[in-house]
Amino acid sequence: MGAAATIDRDTLLTLLLRLADDHLVLGHRLSEWCGHAPMLEEDLAMPNMALDLIGQARALYTYAADVEGKGRTEDDLAYLRLEREYLNCLLVERPNGDFAQTMLRQLYFAAFMEPFWKAAASSTDATVAGIAAKAVKEVAYHIRHAGEWVVRLGDGTEESRRRMEDAIEELAPYLDEIFEDDPVTVQASAAGIAPQPSSLRPAFDRIIGPIFAEAGLTFITPPYSQRGGRKGMHGEAMGFLLADLQHIQRTYPGATW
């Protein structure tokens, strides 16, 4: 990331909302496991990770609201937008499926965010740098945790292995989207605010490679890739997720506590 170039407000806002939405939506997905995890330790672990993600999302929404400068708050951005206004990638909105699928989705996202936050920690934007410096430590734990489960299940019983292989197949079409560059990321990178997603692929592979090797799993190239999340086009699952996420604010507009 060099410096020099500047970024216009709308582009910065879009960048922040994409990031914030990724973290809010995945945090919400993880929180759905609360009370349903296969064991107590996981029942603690998943809300803990959700808390990290939602905490990161809050910091990003607060800053986004500042940048937007229209008097909206973090809550307005998190709860009161329409589905087409959410800019999260499709990977994070995928339903939890079974435990294998949840853990693989977590590993993929964390392995993408770890190099992202590392680069963003030296962002020319002081607020982004601050959020990144904190998040990079948290995401390291998520990689470790999810990575251990991918190894345990991949190298486990016949059934656990089958489930992990199914998860790899199920999530494969949603991976390319997170590495996609577009005018927003190009401008953000030129201004030294955040790295280009495509530049993170080698680091992602260096994290996933050894974990898959230890698990005896094979990475597959999907026959097709699904895109659209960054433009607000989501899968069927997203509407149900938002119905759950937003129902308090939709039922009691402006409720605070």
Binding site: A45, N48, D52, A59, G130, A133, H145, E148
Partner: protein, 166 residues
Amino acid sequence: MVGGATGLDTRQQAWAAAASVPDPEVPCVTVADLGILRSVELVDGVAVARVTPTYSGCPAVLAIELAVEAALRDAGFEARVERVVSPAWTTDWITPEGREKLRDYGIAPPQQASSSIRSLFGEIEVACPRCGSAKTERLSEFGSTACKAHWRCLACREPFDYFKCI
């Protein structure tokens, strides 16, 4: 100058008041012990405390900020609390006294080294806060709060919390 000395004393009083606030989730240690109270300055007669969260999503952050503000007001100051995220809090900021208090409370203090994502199943050595044995094992990376992991001692068989190193 007398005025200068008084200013310093007042600032020290404000620090002492803010520093006495216990952590709401780990009440054996204060916010100063944990290193989350970064500074207390007097700005135009207002005591401004700067506080940094341990984890982005730590639900105790708001409670801590309110408690610090209340402690400053109780000590007779007009008070304001600012949240700073940069530089990011690290467990290395826990004071030596804070580490001892954690151990006495039954929480193993964090190792003084950074965590590594490479160490899949790779283990750090955490001494049991009860019996001191190094024969311990991790049960879960995530414990009762965001900042703790769940461990167990293989010598005295007691489960315990380990304050994660970040």
